[in-house]
């Protein structure tokens, strides 16, 4: 088949300036970019110059290269549409070089043109006589029942923006005609009529491709993307190195968490102590909260970061005042039920404790008074972990391998997600309270949309067969991060699910990870080796 673009060369090199082929030696371009047709590229440049408003340059390039943007027939066709000479345009349909020249396609184009006439009469005429006549007499035979129904609906409800859009009316004649041309161009051989903004579309695809190849490109809008260079991995801010190690604990460290304002780090340990560190002062120890009689396994900051709730293996939860470091209250459940987790209301008025002994209890944070109880120790859910979302939903991971969601206003259950495997840890996204990150034994992390009962992403690589291993969102929720029973900490790209790194962190389990909500490039891990590690960008990278 002869290349179609040959048809539009205006006399080849006899125009004086000549076309691309004899001006410079383009052999090396041919070699390096064998798939790229130079005439196609030139026509795209002509198009984009005109798209950008450089009409004289566009015209000049046409003359210089001897190439035309569109074929003469197409030019006529476009002119007819733009001038509203729809009957003339319809007569040209048979002459168009279509990708698929079946009767069906031709009928479709005819329908689109008649629809434009219908729409223009509908929005410009006083009455609906003509549009109705077009619809009845001319379009009825051309179109599917569905199209006719949609147009009839528009006839009844002219002002519906939704119907306008779905029927191809874009507020005024010019825009709608442009839209019509764009629709028709999809049927026309692209050599004859280049699809609109084609070069821009290609560049957009190129950027998307580069993004998808570059796992450290986290859609951060603060970085301008330049066409001059490929996207580079920007790891300068990415925390992949240990920048500090805290050695105060005398036994395994089971839980770490940053305060909501990012200024404090709390750690709980099997040495029965809870440490509070000042992040702003290079992790100077602010308090050692002593009082728990056994291993401490959980901690939760109130939203104003003034109080801390801690849970221990002894069946008592403690509330601490973080301004003074003093114990404020001890909470016990009925019949010495164990308390394994808890979280605060966003307004600080209440908190909820969760127990593996089938109890979930709501308390008044000021008085310690019990306000509500979901189930008792014979029929409540067995809670492994629970969190409260910013929109006041109580979300719990249960021993039955389910996620349960309750509304805290009505106390009624909203939904149950059947995960089917052991769930050890639960985190609610700060960006979308419907998104949950869970650790699933033996080796997965999952993100769920609980509203839609939809598993969104899986992350694999870490190991958690026998222990409670915890995870978190991080880096502006662009990554997810988890500990592992092999002592490593794993970080994945949240969007693509791809592993960004597995870093040696601890001897024995890396039990828990926590990301600083304020300082994007900081997270903490804790492990069986009694250590807390603070992670940040490596110093050498900073200097580069």
């Amino acid at each position: 088949m002869a290349p179609v673009h040959d048809l539009f060369e205006n006399g080849g090199g006899n125009g004086g300036a000549g076309n691309v082929n004899n001006q410079v030696n383009t052999e090396c371009i041919d070699k390096a970019y064998p798939g790229i047709d130079k005439n196609e590229l030139t026509r795209l440049i002509i198009q984009s110059l005109s798209d950008l408003g450089y009409n004289r340059s566009s015209q000049l390039l046409k003359t210089e290269s001897g190439l035309e943007l569109d074929s003469p027939i197409i030019n006529n066709f476009i002119a007819y549409i733009k001038n509203g000479e729809f009957n003339q345009a319809e007569m040209l349909i048979d002459n168009l070089n279509l990708i698929d020249s079946s009767l069906e396609v031709k009928t479709k184009i005819q329908f689109l043109i008649k629809r434009q006439r219908f729409l223009e009469h509908l929005y410009n005429d006083e009455n609906t006589t003509i549009p109705l006549r077009i619809l009845r007499n001319e379009m009825n035979s051309l179109s599917s029942t569905q199209d006719i129904r949609s147009l009839t609906a528009l006839l009844m409800n002219k002002q519906s923006e939704h119907l306008q859009l779905s029927n191809g009316w874009l507020k005024n004649i010019e825009n709608s005609r442009e839209f019509l041309l764009n629709e028709i161009s999809k049927f026309i051989n692209p050599n004859e009529m280049i699809p609109k903004y084609r070069l821009f579309e290609l560049l957009k695809q190129s950027i998307e491709y580069q993004k998808s190849m570059n796992l450290y490109q986290f859609n951060n809008n603060d970085r301008k993307i330049s066409l001059y260079e490929d996207l580079k991995s920007d790891k300068t801010l990415f925390p992949d190195s240990i920048v500090k190690t805290l050695t105060d604990h005398k036994n395994e460290v089971w839980y770490v968490q940053f305060s909501h304002d990012g200024s404090k780090l709390v750690s709980t340990s099997a040495d029965h102590h809870v440490n509070v560190y000042d992040v702003e002062q290079d992790f100077k120890k602010k308090f050692t909260l002593k009082g728990h009689e056994k291993q401490v396994l959980y901690a939760s900051f109130s939203h104003d970061d003034k109080k801390l709730l801690t849970c221990s293996i002894e069946p008592k939860a403690r509330i601490w005042n973080l301004e003074t470091g003093e114990l404020e209250r001890i909470i016990t459940l009925s019949s010495e039920s164990r308390i394994w987790c808890g979280d605060w209301y966003p307004n600080g008025e209440c908190f909820v404790l969760g127990s593996p002994d089938k109890e979930v209890v709501l308390y008044n944070a000021h008085t310690g008074e019990q306000l509500y109880k979901w189930g008792d120790s014979t029929n409540g859910p067995i809670i492994n972990d629970l969190k409260i979302s910013q929109d006041y939903k109580l979300i719990a991971a249960t021993y039955d391998n389910n996620i349960e969601v309750w509304d805290l206003d009505s106390k009624s259950k909203l939904t149950t997600l059947d995960i089917g495997e052991k769930i050890t840890s639960l985190t609610i996204s700060n960006k979308n309270p419907n998104h949950l990150l869970i650790n699933v034994s033996p080796n997965e992390l999952q993100i769920w949309n609980w509203c839609k009962n939809l598993l969104l992403t899986k992350f694999v690589g870490h190991r958690q067969e026998n222990y409670i291993i915890r995870s978190c969102f991080g880096f502006n929720e662009d990554v997810v991060c988890s500990g592992s029973e092999d002592g490593r900490v794993f970080i994945w790209n949240k969007e693509f699910g791809a592993l960004l790194g597995a870093f040696d962190a601890h001897n024995g389990n890396a039990n828990c990870v926590a990301w600083n909500p304020k300082y994007k490039s900081m997270f903490a891990t804790c492990g069986d080796d009694f250590l807390i590690r603070i992670w940040g960008p490596s110093r050498s990278k900073k200097n580069v």
């Binding site: 089971w254 396994l297 293996i313 009925s334 164990r338 002994d357 014979t378 052991k422 222990y467 069986d528």
Partner: protein, 123 residues
């Protein structure tokens, strides 16, 4: 070694109780699984149990007992490492074979976890 994921033993607290570790209340066994109440451990009365969960076993050793020599290993709560009894692995005397693969739980080291309905009925 970290915070263990533990098996939960359900029981209604009326017809059966769950026995938990005295140190951390991690569930160990159920009253349904008692084979005999007529045993003595190092700390006093003990039960012979058909099955015990959430434990770690110590190294195997030969231990001389009143009824003969046994190959046993100590069992500890996997969460708090509290010593709660032992497991019989092997014995040469034929009339004691039934103990093989069974466990001893010492009453001093365990607690009943959900017997409150029973308590109510007693009052």
């Amino acid at each position: 070694m970290g915070f263990r994921y533990s098996t939960y033993i359900d029981s209604d607290g009326v017809t059966a109780f769950t026995y938990g570790c005295g140190g951390c209340r991690t569930h160990l066994s159920s009253s349904n699984l008692i084979l005999s109440r007529d045993y003595r451990g190092r700390t006093g009365d003990a039960y012979l149990m058909d099955k015990v969960v959430n434990i770690v076993q110590g190294s195997k050793q030969i231990r001389q007992m009143i009824t003969g020599a046994y190959l046993v290993s100590d069992i500890r709560c996997h969460q708090c490492k509290n010593l709660v009894g032992w497991k019989y692995h092997h014995t040469d005397s034929r009339d004691q074979k039934y103990k093989e693969g069974k466990y001893i739980l010492e009453l001093q080291t365990i607690v009943k976890c959900n017997s409150k309905q029973k308590q109510k009925m007693m009052y």
